[in-house]
Amino acid sequence: MLVLRPKTKFDISVEAEITPELATKNLKEIENFQIYCGNRTLKLKDLFEISKQGDEKKILLEGDFSKVKYIGFGMDGGEIIVKGNVGTHCGALMKNGKIVIEGNADDWLGAEMKGGEIIVKGNAANLVGSAYYGDLAGMSGGKILIEGNAGNYIGDKMTGGIIEIKGDAGDFIGTEMRGGQIIIHGSCGFVGSDMRGGEIIIKGNFELLPSFVEKEGFWIGDVNVKGEGKIKKLQ
C-alpha cells in the first residue's frame, strides 16, 4: 500500500494521474512519478510525503486532495481511499477497482467510467458519470454511490452502470441517457431530457419535462427522440 500526504496546502492545482498500479512500483519510481503543478513538471516527492507499506495495489490519500486532479484516472483495478476531498476527473475512464472518497468530490467524477466502484461519503459536484465534450457515450458500467448531494449534469449520455445519490441532485439528470440507472433519494431539477433508454428513479421532487408521458404509474420518454427511458418514483 502506498500512502501520500500533501506537504503543503496547494494554491495552484496539481495534476497527478495516480492509479493503484503505482503502489506496486519500487519507492524510487514512486518518488519520481511525474506530476504537474501549473506549468511546472514535478515529481511526486516534491509535493507529497510518500510512505510505502508493502506491495498491495492500494493507495491511501491522507489530507486535502481537493486541488489534486485525475486521481484514479483510467484505473484498472486495486483501490484508492481518499481521507478527505478530491479534485476533478477522479475515477474518470475507470475500468475496474474501487475508489472511496471520505470527503467531497469535484466535477467529472467517474466520467465515462466503464467499470469498478466509486463511493463518495460527502458530496459530489457536477458532471458525475458524464460524457466528455464531444464524446457520444458517458458512463457505461460500474457503480457510483454518493452519500451526500450531487450537482448538475449527472449521467449525461450514460449507457450503463448505476449512479446512486442519497441526497439531492442538481439540474439535468440523465440527459440523452441510453441505458443504466440513476437513483436519487432526494430531489432534483429537470430529468431525462432526450433520454432514449435506461431508468431514473427519484424519491423526492423533480421537474418533469413536457416530453414525457405517464404510463402505468411511471413516465416514459423522451418523446422527442422516440425514447423508451423510464422515470419512476422511488417507493
Binding site: D107, A125, N126, N152, Y153, D171
Partner: protein, 122 residues
Amino acid sequence: MIEVELVTGRTLEQGATVEEKLTENYFYAVNYIELNEEDFASLKLKDGDRVKVKTKFGEVVVFAKKGDLPKGVAFMPLGPYANIVIDPNTAGTGMPKFKGVRAKIEKTEERVLSIRELLEVI
C-alpha cells in the same frame, strides 16, 4: 421585505457608459434595481429610495425604481452591484448564473457605495 426572482441585463445607459467606469454616469447607470409597481408600492418606496438586495451570495444597497416587470421579478443592470448578489456558481459550465436568483428586498437607510468602495468590500 419581499422576495423576488432577480434577473440582470444590459441597458442602453449601462452600455453607453461602460468605457467610463469610474464616472458618475456609469455609477448611476448600474446602481439600481427595478421592481414591479405593486412590489415597489408594497415596500412603501418612492423614487430615490434605497433598498438592500440580499441573496445567498451577498448583499448590496442600490436605488429602487419602478419597472415594467411581472410581479415578483426584479431587474438590475449588469455590473458590479449586481455581481455582488448573483449566483457565482457555474455548475459545470464555466458560466455563473447572472439571471434568475432568489433575492430578498428591503428598504434601507444605508447609502449606496461608490464603485471604489464596492471593490474594497469584495
